[in-house]
Symmetry: C2
Subunit: 363 residues, 2 copies
């Protein structure tokens, strides 16, 4: 048992982060995106690729180009904030790329947190924003505790349920740790991510028990039979389903966005109609609650003690984010690997838009 799932195995070419960032931005601009959108979407993708969340990394470039060209995502959105009260705001994202909306929303939540101790922004008329952790990290890097939620099209059954109901509805939280990488959580409330099913399918491996179901809602370990994911918790899946509900209430009920079961599939075939995905971000100022020195000392001690907690024989313990920072360090040295399908998409996009195709690092 590992402390957390490893990044998906990716073989083949590896790239410098800056090169990938430049190519993503150029391709999105070529597809018609305004500069802010191209930058935000690239920043979010590189967050995923940097820390090993490859499902939400540059693999998404091809998809994001398609939804901008198709019109589902507004290439030139006019974001509109409405402050219903001093510490909170609602963002009508005008069908922006989700990253464009969420980075702007977290900036505003931090402004409010600096003034009032905390701030939150409810986002509607948005779209896929990549890894929720990107926005939690955005806050933590500025010294705030950041939280980010979003919903998505239905893919996870309820506990005892036999049809898709919630999205994979992630919970992300970032906490600053003085002089060190932040504490960073980014977890789906489903038992496993759907990408894990696809991986096991390609490897012809049996899934773990109680993580996915067939069309009748029966548990299955056959990755080819999977129609929906189980909520986190196995026999205690009512907890995972309830956590998905927490995310749904923040991201959809409180924002006026679509509920997960009303959202069109991310994968199309319709790439022209906006989906009205919702999201919710929150920032808290530690120094508004207690002396900042005390906060820093407690957070450092908490994480240090956690890392030193006695492991089971042959096992290890890690704090949320630790695996990601290790991957990031490795990728800084060795480059960011991309999978063959993404490499082919790069070829296509480079040819189509007449862009220089990023060159892999040597090795």
């Amino acid at each position: 048992m590992t402390a957390a799932p490893a990044p998906l195995p990716v073989a083949g070419e590896r790239h410098r982060e800056a090169d990938l960032h430049a190519f993503c931005t150029a391709a999105l601009r070529a597809a018609g995106a305004e500069p802010e959108t191209a930058e935000a979407a690239s920043r979010a993708m590189l967050h995923g690729s940097r820390i090993g969340v490859d499902s939400h990394g540059v693999r998404l470039l091809d998809h994001y180009v398609a939804v901008i060209e198709g019109g589902r995502v507004n290439a030139r959105p006019a974001l509109r904030f409405t402050d219903g009260a001093a510490a909170v705001s609602s963002l009508d994202a005008d069908h922006a790329h989700g990253a464009r909306a969420a980075y702007a929303a977290m900036d505003r939540a931090m402004e409010k947190a600096a003034l009032y101790g905390m701030g939150a922004v409810a986002i509607r008329n948005s779209s896929h924003f990549g890894a929720a952790g990107a926005y939690a990290l955005q806050a933590a890097e500025k010294g705030f505790i950041g939280l980010a939620f979003c919903n998505s099209d239905s893919f996870v059954r309820l506990h005892g349920g036999a049809e898709r109901f919630h999205g994979t509805n992630p919970i992300a939280m970032g906490v600053p740790v003085e002089g060190e990488d932040p504490w960073l959580l980014d977890m789906a409330t489903s038992a496993i991510p759907y990408n894990r099913v696809l991986l096991y399918r390609s490897l012809e491996c049996a899934l773990p028990a109680e993580v996915a179901s067939n069309q009748e809602g029966h548990d299955t370990t056959d990755p080819h039979a999977v129609d929906m994911l189980a909520p986190l918790g196995g026999a205690f899946g009512f907890k995972g389903a309830a956590l998905a509900g927490v995310v749904e209430i923040f991201s959809a009920v409180l924002t006026g966005a679509r509920l997960s079961f009303d959202i069109a599939p991310m994968g199309g075939p319709d790439f022209a109609t906006p989906r009205n995905v919702g999201a919710f971000v929150m920032a808290l100022t530690p120094g508004a609650f207690l002396d900042e020195t005390d906060f820093n000392a407690a957070m450092t001690r908490y994480r240090q003690t956690l890392r030193a907690s006695r492991p089971a024989p042959g096992d290890r313990v890690m704090a949320p984010g630790d695996r990601e920072w290790l991957v990031a360090e490795q990728r800084r040295r060795e480059g960011i690997p991309i999978d063959p399908a993404t490499a082919q998409a790069f070829d296509r996009l480079a040819a189509r838009y007449g862009l220089p195709r990023p060159k892999p690092v040597a090795g």
Copy 2:
């Protein structure tokens, strides 16, 4: 597989809620508690007993009397709020009963939410507050979204860990639903509650897999061998451990309270020394984020659609809180059952303080 664990089986006498409330208040007053403390502790216990969370119901009266008499809990605390910013506050609870502190903190969080859209209070120098759901419900009943967290003495290992690290660190959230009982979540971030272990011990039953460990951190299904609980999630326990971390950061790091692994055991033997347990409450005003009519419509539709989601054959789906409201309705009709040990404690407390012992309802 049931949608949620049933209340612990309790046989024997049953009581009217008002009678239990009056007896709890009288016993706590007799033990020296000021009126506000006696009322708050009784209110929190009756919340647990009303909805079937018997582990946090009137069973706790005997314990609360002991900690007030012993001095661990301050019978006459001077609560001190400090507002570090407009929307947030810190409460030094002066070693109050946890319910006294948390009800007052949520009242203040709601005042702030009414003014600023949301409000939060970080609580330090507190003590066991019973079921976290009591304070989430307090907010939901007034039309706010309420969140409540607390930490406690260590009882849950980390993922891959072999020693007690986090408390059972609950997450509670209550959401108002127009004209109906609130949506109510109150879940420990451990795989199961410790009371479940004790129940299986008394029944000589094997535990489910992956919910508890022996002293070496190895999974065990033998309830007699259990030394610590596993985090929620089984093979994906890094998620449960991370959620416990979310609660720990809010309840202890951000409050200046003790970290779980520094808190003396709830069960004594020392009942004289304050434990400095932490908690955190937050309230959000739906109408500050979107039109209240739209919020109400979306929340109602969300829960109705959830309840109607297709169940697996022979199974059922429920929304968070649904089981509790069913139990509450049954107990309104039939009375609240108490277990034999609690009945004996009532006898002792009544004799000791010269109080009328509550009379069971007929049947």
